[in-house]
């Protein structure tokens, strides 16, 4: 040991050595050190004297009897005030429920959130499309009985639709810009949004061509309104979920603060 003052580890060894609490190898190691280090020997001797000094303190007798009386026990066993108990119970339940809700949200809530954002993105797309001038149709209906492949957007007689194609292209570019930007900002592209985007990209070369159902064509898919209604449910659910978390948090926090104040008053 270079310093006169022993390190904490040496102190612990010396202290345990005095109390015979060292393992045989530790004891042997320390005894070897003690033979070589006079400062350590001195420290051990001083510690031994300190221990002896402390042990020499007289044992005090109790100044009086501490035997309990029935009054002491009944006073102490008196139940805590109902408010105290009720608050503690309410806070505990609220805290447990809050933790459970947060846990549920962590496990499932992310999906709910993305579903809501996706439905919002779809609504934005449909709103943009609906806001276009109805006089400039994006879907050009083919005559009943026309080639189905062509009617489904597979290309058709370019001569008869050339004017419409030009106007539809310009409208399509405008309609496409805003919602895609919004989707990118939200950082999430749902499957539906991606499908919509892919369809949009396909339309860059021409308008959608389809069979008009009112003139004998079959409705292939008309799910726009259904999608909007279905996705409104997670949004409402998410709102209720969030409010429930806030309410539980407030109950738990208020209860704990009140309990703490009551506890301090009781201690005083």
């Amino acid at each position: 040991m270079k310093d006169k003052r022993p390190r904490t580890h040496d102190l612990e060894l010396l202290s345990a050595y005095l109390d015979n609490e060292l393992t045989p190898p530790q004891r042997q190691e320390l005894e070897t050190l003690l033979e070589l280090d006079s400062a350590l020997r001195e420290k051990l001797e001083n510690m031994r004297r300190t221990k002896f000094t402390l042990g020499s303190l007289p044992r005090l007798n109790a100044p009086r009897s501490f035997a309990l009386t029935p009054e002491m026990v009944s006073v102490r066993r008196k139940k805590q005030p109902p408010l105290f108990t009720a608050l503690r119970l309410a806070s505990s339940i609220a805290a447990v429920l809050l933790v459970a809700l947060v846990g549920i949200e962590l496990v499932l809530g992310y999906g709910l959130g993305t579903g809501l954002m996706a439905s919002q993105a779809l609504e934005t797309v449909s709103d943009s499309v609906e806001s276009q001038d109805p006089a400039e149709p994006l879907i050009l209906w083919a005559e009943p009985g026309a080639n189905e492949a062509s009617a489904m957007g597979g290309g058709s007689d370019e001569r008869s639709y050339s004017t419409d194609i030009e106007s539809a292209e310009s409208l399509e570019m405008e309609a496409k810009a805003a919602p895609v930007e919004e989707d990118l900002e939200s950082g999430v592209l749902s499957e539906e949004a991606e499908t919509s985007k892919a369809a949009d990209e396909g339309e860059a070369e021409g308008p959608i061509l389809g069979l008009n159902p009112e003139e004998g064509g079959e409705i292939i898919e008309r799910s726009e309104s259904a999608v909007t209604e279905d996705d409104a449910a997670p949004g409402v659910f998410l709102g209720v979920f969030r409010w429930a978390q806030i309410a539980l948090g407030v109950i738990a926090a208020t209860g704990l603060i009140t309990l703490w104040i009551l506890h301090k008053k009781r201690q005083a």
Binding site: T50, L68, M72
Partner: protein, 202 residues
């Protein structure tokens, strides 16, 4: 009657049986409380609180050393009392004479077999040691009192302090080192046999 039977009877609501336990352990409990608190009034309060708490929590006793369990509750009562007194300081019960020269030890602290001179020396020495104990942090003080004053082994002290064995060893070593440094200030009060080696040569 053995301890286990007394505890069982106390659990059945027999306060008399519990008071047998109180009588058996009250000196030890008060002694530990006094050395931790450093003040008789506070030690009395802590001891009484501890016994009431022991009675109320008796159902939680899961066997093992009742003494260690009791001392743990006494230590906790002392911690609580120390905290309470830190928030609301109270006047010391040791009355100081106006000139501040000396103070009167309560009668129950006096050793009736000692001469007046011995009594005085003992009182001064004990006061010096107790002052050094009081200067320790609570966590060091409790371990030091349990092991060096009360004479508990490490395992029982660990149970009584509610601390792991390694923590007890570490705290005890540091507490002894600090006490030793503190006692150097009072070395001239210590009888020869208690004097530290480096002080003798100083």
């Amino acid at each position: 009657m053995d301890e286990t039977a007394l505890i069982q009877e106390a659990l059945d609501g027999n306060l008399g049986s519990f008071n047998y336990l109180v009588v058996q352990y009250q000196d030890m409990a008060f002694n530990v409380a006094y050395r931790i608190m450093g003040e008789p009034g506070a030690a009395e309060d802590a001891t009484q609180e501890a016994f009431i708490s022991v009675y109320q929590k008796l159902e939680q006793f899961r066997g093992g050393s009742f003494k260690a369990w009791l001392l743990r509750i006494v230590s906790n009562a002392c911690y609580d009392e120390l905290r309470r007194r830190q928030r609301q300081p109270v006047a010391p019960l040791k009355p100081e004479v106006n000139d501040g020269e000396t103070w009167e030890e309560p009668d129950w602290l006096k050793d009736p077999s000692a001469s007046p001179e011995e009594c005085f020396e003992q009182a001064v020495l004990q006061d010096a040691i107790q002052e050094c104990i009081n200067k320790l942090d609570d966590k060091f003080r409790v371990i030091l009192v349990l092991v060096d004053v009360e004479g508990l082994d490490y395992k029982t002290a660990a149970a009584a302090a509610g601390a792991p064995l390694g923590t007890v060893k570490s705290r005890l070593a540091r507490a002894r080192d600090r006490i030793q440094n503190c006692l150097q200030r009072f070395w001239e009060l210590l009888p020869d046999m208690f004097r530290l080696k480096d002080e003798e040569t100083a």
